[in-house]
Subunit: 143 residues, 2 copies
RNA sequence: AGACACCGGCUACG
DNA sequence: CGTAGCCGGTGTCT
């Protein structure tokens, strides 16, 4: 049973963003984008984690209750209703759809934990996501 | 020319509710009900304001576009058609009818302003409506 | 089927 | 204080 921690950030929000996937206290995936949102980076981190797992049994810890609810509650309904919700449009569908598909094929459990509440590995993921974002900012500045 | 601000709220909705009428930065009417809706409380606030004006020339600011449209567009038609609309019943008729009558006899102009957009006196009305609702909740708990 | 407004709740990011 | 996202409700209109 593998245990992964994911986190994403954007500063300012929206703005340059980064994400990290942590396993055994070390980053196994890092990345960033020059212009994104906190929500998108958290989702991309989860997608990266699911891809790395490739079907293996696992627990993934995230501080994004939003994405946990997308995968476990809302997406099933959205799919049935043709990817529509009652009010307005579903945002970030380009991430939602493939992520939900990955989740359905996975043996992973998505577990929410409160951010900045002293969870060691979550803080670590946060820290690495920030580093990845800073790297992104530098790339951005350099061109 | 008197300038009044009204607001109403319910938390949860439906649930205990409160309303406030503000003039010169101070509440001139407050009230609450143990079980109501946000729409009803906004309407009751307007009714209270019109009664307090007693025909004096005034502007009344509300963030309920719904009630502004009731008074300025829909109610005239509803009255002509015997207080019926094409589909379904008119809700909250117990508030709509006397409110429309008060409005017709008044010299007040109803003006909509966007809620939670930094309008100082509207925020004040919101704040007092919440206090009135909390008082209502306490009364509710006590008895 | 669309549109509008308001009320309430939750999480994260900054 | 702001941003990004979601859920539920009351109500009307075309």
């Amino acid at each position: 049973m593998r245990i992964l921690y994911t986190d994403g950030s954007a500063a300012p929000n929206p703005g340059p963003g980064g994400y990290a996937v942590i396993e055994n206290g070390k980053p196994i995936a890092l990345g960033g984008e020059p212009m994104t949102t906190n929500i998108r980076m958290e989702g991309i981190a989860l997608g990266k984690a699911l891809r790395l797992l490739n079907g293996e049994e696992a627990k993934i810890y995230t501080d994004s209750d939003f994405w946990r609810q997308v995968l476990m509650q809302w997406a099933p309904n959205w799919q049935i209703n043709g990817w529509k919700k009652k009010k307005g449009d579903i945002k970030n569908l380009d991430i939602v759809k493939p992520l939900y598909e990955l989740y359905c094929q996975s043996n992973a459990e998505i577990i929410w934990l409160k951010g900045h509440a002293g969870h060691e590995y979550n803080e670590l993921a946060d820290s690495w996501a920030n580093k990845a974002r800073e790297g992104q900012r530098i790339e951005n500045i350099n061109g």
